[in-house]
Amino acid sequence: MTQTIEPAPGEEYEMLYSRLQQIVEQLETGDLPLAQALTLYEEGVATAKACQRLLDHAALRVRTLMESADQSPAITETDV
């Protein structure tokens, strides 16, 4: 099994983005206690910023599956 253990930036982005969506939807219902709304808002702003940072700094990562001597594929990071 050749799994990349490290999460892909896209996974992190999707996680953050769905959290952001959740926050916005929760805030939009409008019946949260104010303190909770403020906390959520702050988290939302930070999450949006984190999403933006991921988008701004993303650099395509390319890994190559290589046939190694024992016939089992291995992943190597290469400049393709």
Partner: protein, 411 residues
């Protein structure tokens, strides 16, 4: 040595031919002759080439799929199986596909494979899977040296640099290329890619042939994740284009199809930010409104307003008390005036005013009868203003009841 009956021999020959793999699935190139169409719809003809010939049968079902029936002398590619017809003791070609020879063997094979795989359900629209919206890991199967790889990577860098590409190199043409594609595909199936692109840049039809390989098609069909094919140019169609979940006209187009545009993602984030602050602004406005409403309710119940209300009550009480007292005074005054009127009416003073006088004895008894006085009695006379004493004179006439009153001035 064995002695066989004719039928035993023919059965043996039949089984012999049936057991042969090549004869079960074969393309034969030749020229049509002795073509005849039976009234049942089945067609019988001979395929000739030079001095060689073989009898051929094409069932009605196959014949009905042909646009035009072949004519004698036409060069054709016939596909089918070779079997022994025991009744006549003849070897026959049972044709299930007939193509004009001009179309080329490869093309004929292509169509044959396409029909077979379609019949097997490999192209079923119902099993096409949608592409993931945000693929985290994109598998790419292509040649490490071709321009296609760089084209795709450039598209992904520009559109969706968040992705991680897992590149499985293969050979895309030449003998054995199909196996390298299959290996690359299965290697990717062992990873956690979300989508796979199988691609090759443009080339001559023979160069793309690897992608018409049946085993490659089956390997694509076996993919656990959606597969996008991007082989050749827009006009090229290969078998894996039909098997893939999505067909892209070129490798670059395939890369575009699997990747969301980062501009759209940026817009998404901007939109989320907008909604976030709008929701917060709204929430704060709600809070302000709530506070205003509570303040209003609080004001109503405040000590000041309570005092103000009490003061109002007190004022009201005072006003009502004053009114009551005043009314009572007025009433008393009116009553008093009435009594005084009656009193004045009864008073003798008014009578005295008119010149009458009140005569009293010296003891103060009111004298209303002359018999009450005797001569020389002293009496008091009260007039309107003041009083004086008088002396009773003896009355000379017979009328004894009337005495002359001698006037005597009193001090």
């Amino acid at each position: 040595m064995q002695l066989l009956t004719v039928s035993q021999l023919n059965t043996y020959l039949r089984d012999l031919l049936d057991a042969d793999d090549l004869l079960r699935d074969v393309w034969v190139e030749g020229e049509i002759s002795s073509f005849s169409r039976h009234f049942s719809g089945h067609c019988y003809f001979t395929l000739k080439e030079g001095d060689a010939q073989i009898g051929a049968v094409m069932w009605k079902s196959t014949a009905s799929r042909l646009a035009t029936l072949p004519v004698n002398g036409e060069a054709v590619l016939a596909h089918g199986r070779v079997a022994f017809y025991e009744v006549r003791g003849q070897v026959q070609l049972y044709v299930d596909l007939l193509r004009p020879a001009g179309i080329g063997l490869l093309q004929a094979q292509f169509e044959r494979l396409k029909e077979r795989l379609a019949a097997e359900g490999l192209f079923e629209p119902s099993r096409k899977r949608p592409l993931p919206l945000l693929p985290h890991r994109i598998g790419i199967v292509t040649s490490p040296t071709g321009a296609a790889l760089q084209d795709m990577l450039n598209v992904l860098r520009r559109r969706y640099p968040l992705a991680e590409v897992i590149f499985a190199p293969c050979r895309v043409q030449g003998a054995g290329a199909a196996d390298t594609i299959i290996d690359a595909l299965y290697a990717l199936y062992e990873t956690n890619v979300d989508v796979i692109i199988v691609a090759r840049g443009g080339g001559a039809a023979e160069d793309l042939w690897t992608f018409n390989d049946e085993q490659v098609a089956r390997a694509v069909f076996a993919s656990p994740v959606p597969v996008v094919s991007g082989v050749g140019h827009e006009t090229d169609t290969t078998i894996i284009d039909f098997v893939a979940d999505v067909r892209a006209p070129t490798p670059s187009a395939a890369a575009e199809l699997v990747s969301p545009d980062i501009e759209e993602l940026n817009d998404d984030i901007a939109q989320m930010r907008g909604r976030l602050s709008a929701a917060m602004t709204q929430r704060l406005a709600n809070a302000r409104e709530t506070i205003a409403r509570l303040k209003l309710r609080l004001d109503i119940r405040s000590p000041e307003s309570r005092i103000r209300r009490d003061r109002q009550h007190i004022d009201e009480f005072i006003r009502r008390a004053t009114t009551t007292v005043e009314r009572r005074i007025t009433l008393s005054r009116a009553r008093l005036d009435g009594v005084r009127g009656r009193l004045e009416a009864l008073s003798p003073l008014a009578t005295l005013e008119r010149g009458y006088a009140v005569v009293q004895s010296s003891q103060g008894t009111l004298i209303t009868d002359a018999s009450q006085v005797a001569p020389d009695d002293r009496i008091e006379i009260v007039v309107r203003r003041g009083r004086f004493r008088a002396h009773v004179e003896p009355w000379s006439t017979a009328d004894s009841a009337v005495n002359e009153v001698k006037k005597q001035t009193l001090t």
